[in-house]
């Protein structure tokens, strides 16, 4: 087993007159190919933890190790490069660029990385759409798609640069049970069949049941005893 993502005593405090602690002293280790769920009451700091693990936010204390690298010394641009190459994000509200076609949305990270030629990037984009069952939607614009389809496009984009870790924040929160089930199945397959590491925040007990491991967060801390009501 190889450790892909590791958090050492992560704390994130928002400065201010009354400092707010979002995440407090969280340590965890996530292995390659694991499908992990982060659960907990609303406002407990799940999203905040995900942003820290995804190198979008910087901890006030503690460190995040990604793929064996300590990221705490990295500047903004180095963190951005790690996100581009090794991480993929899926959010509750489809975060697609409205003016770009579905295919262009998917090829965006590929082209930013610049390792593939334009045509190769398109081919890879089409492959990903195909794998997620939305190949026929490639030329459409995001607003012409259903919620479930959009979320699949978002996953395709997250996979664009073949990342090590997919971070998902309530990816099924906005979907009906059928579409949610599809997305859940896709994320599970990514972990179990493709060897990706998937870390997903969810409120959905069915979704959580599909995961290999569940991490409960209460008041910004890990709570091993937490169970969904």
């Amino acid at each position: 087993m190889t450790t892909i993502l590791r958090a050492d005593n992560l704390t994130r405090t928002l400065p201010g007159e009354v400092p707010v602690t979002l995440v407090e002293d969280v340590s965890l280790t996530i292995e390659r190919g694991e499908f992990i769920c982060i659960m907990g009451p609303s406002g407990s700091g799940k999203s905040s933890l995900l942003y820290l693990l995804g190198l979008l936010d910087v901890p006030t204390a503690g460190r995040v190790w990604l793929d064996g690298e300590d990221t705490c010394a990295y500047g903004e641009e180095e963190l951005a490069n790690r996100r581009l190459e090794k991480l993929g994000f899926v959010f509750q509200f489809h975060f697609l660029l409205a003016e770009f076609s579905v295919l262009d949305n998917v090829t965006l990270p590929i082209r930013r990385l610049g390792r593939l030629k334009e045509t190769a990037a398109r081919t890879r984009g089409m492959e990903l759409l195909e794998r997620l069952g939305v190949a026929d939607q490639g030329t459409k614009h995001p607003h012409q798609l259903s919620g479930g389809q959009r979320q699949r496009v978002a996953i395709a984009r997250a996979l664009a640069n073949d990342p090590l870790v997919i971070l998902a924040d309530e990816p099924t929160g906005n979907l009906d049970s059928v579409a949610g089930g599809t997305v859940r199945q896709i994320l599970r397959d990514l972990a179990h069949a493709m060897g990706k590491t998937v870390v997903a925040v969810t409120h959905d007990p069915v979704f959580a049941a599909a995961a290999d491991r569940r991490i409960g967060i209460v008041d910004g801390r890990i709570d091993a005893d937490w169970r969904p009501a």
Partner: protein
Amino acid sequence: MLLQLEVAVTHLTGRRRQTLVSLTGVVLGVAFFLAVSSLMRGSEKDFIKRLVDNSPHITVSDDYRHPRTQPAELRWTNAAVHISNVKPQTETRGIRGYRERLAFVESLPGLRVAPILLGSAVLTFAGREQGVTLSGIVPKVMKTISTLPEKMIKGSIDALEANPNGIIIGTGLAEKFNLTLGRNLSVVAASGGSRAMKVVGIFRTGNAAYDENQTFTLLKRAQVLFDRSNRANRLLIQLDDPYAAREVARQIEAVVGYKATSWVEASEDILSVLIVRNIIMYSVVAAILIVASFGIYNTLSTIVLEKTHDIAILKSIGFHARDIRLIFLSEGVIIGMIGSVFGMALGAGLMQLLSIVQIKPPGVSEKVFLPIWWGPEQFALATAFAMASCILAAYLPARRAGSVHPVEILRGAA
């Protein structure tokens, strides 16, 4: 296409109306810049051309730029010598040995030179008197340096050669004294000499004072009349390249010893007025482009606000702050470039339109058009100004966009 540029284009096409308004500002700014600067620079060039064409490029006169060094000063060069009440020696005025000096000037390349003996005289005709400037000229060489031959309306300057007692006068004097070709009048020089002379030519320059006070006769006749045989007191020089006048004048003065004044030196006050005029003009037209840049600033700020989610997405994917800034800066550049191209087209159209406008200054019968200068520099300058103000206008929104923190946006959206 470059990814950042592609995003920039989608932003602009997504806000078509506002983009068009900003673009219009730049187009009008550039066009107005061109129309005004071409007119101002055109009139300036026209003015300088008149200045250059109608006056000698260099005048060598029988003065010294600095008073002669006194013997005492020569003897004790570093002493604190003060000599007061120095009076120049009384001598026959004029350029000494003008023939040798003329020969030297003639030997220089790219110029033509004519000697003149200029003095004051009083013309008397039918009991009326008029003080005039009488210039003794050599018609053959005068023709090479002066526009006088073109200004002759009756007779010619060659007639002076045929009649040594001939005189050429201006229309002002002719009208005042009711003189016509062939009439005789009496000329009395300030030095006392007098002679009866015959009108052999009448000119008109359009300058009233000149047309009333300037008269011409043969150099030889003037030398006799002013009692200065073998002297001239002016060398008038015309250059192939008028803008070299200052340098050539310096060279000539160094060798000839007499003061050589270039037209640039003689018109320094006018030229400095022209510079001030240009500064005012460029400030005004540049201000228009600066106003136009507020439109761009407004549009881009709106786009940044509207697209914070997109910016957050791009940053979460792994775009750098630099990429985001580049996107918004290129939006400014795109507006600037398209605006400049259309602005130049519109500006050229306006210039074309202005150049066919006829103006009628009072007392001028010939057709006069607005002087429009088509110099490429002003097109370059207009574009440079437009681009600079567009980039400047885009800079602040771009910086704001670059500093959008994705987590703050994601938290807000959740």
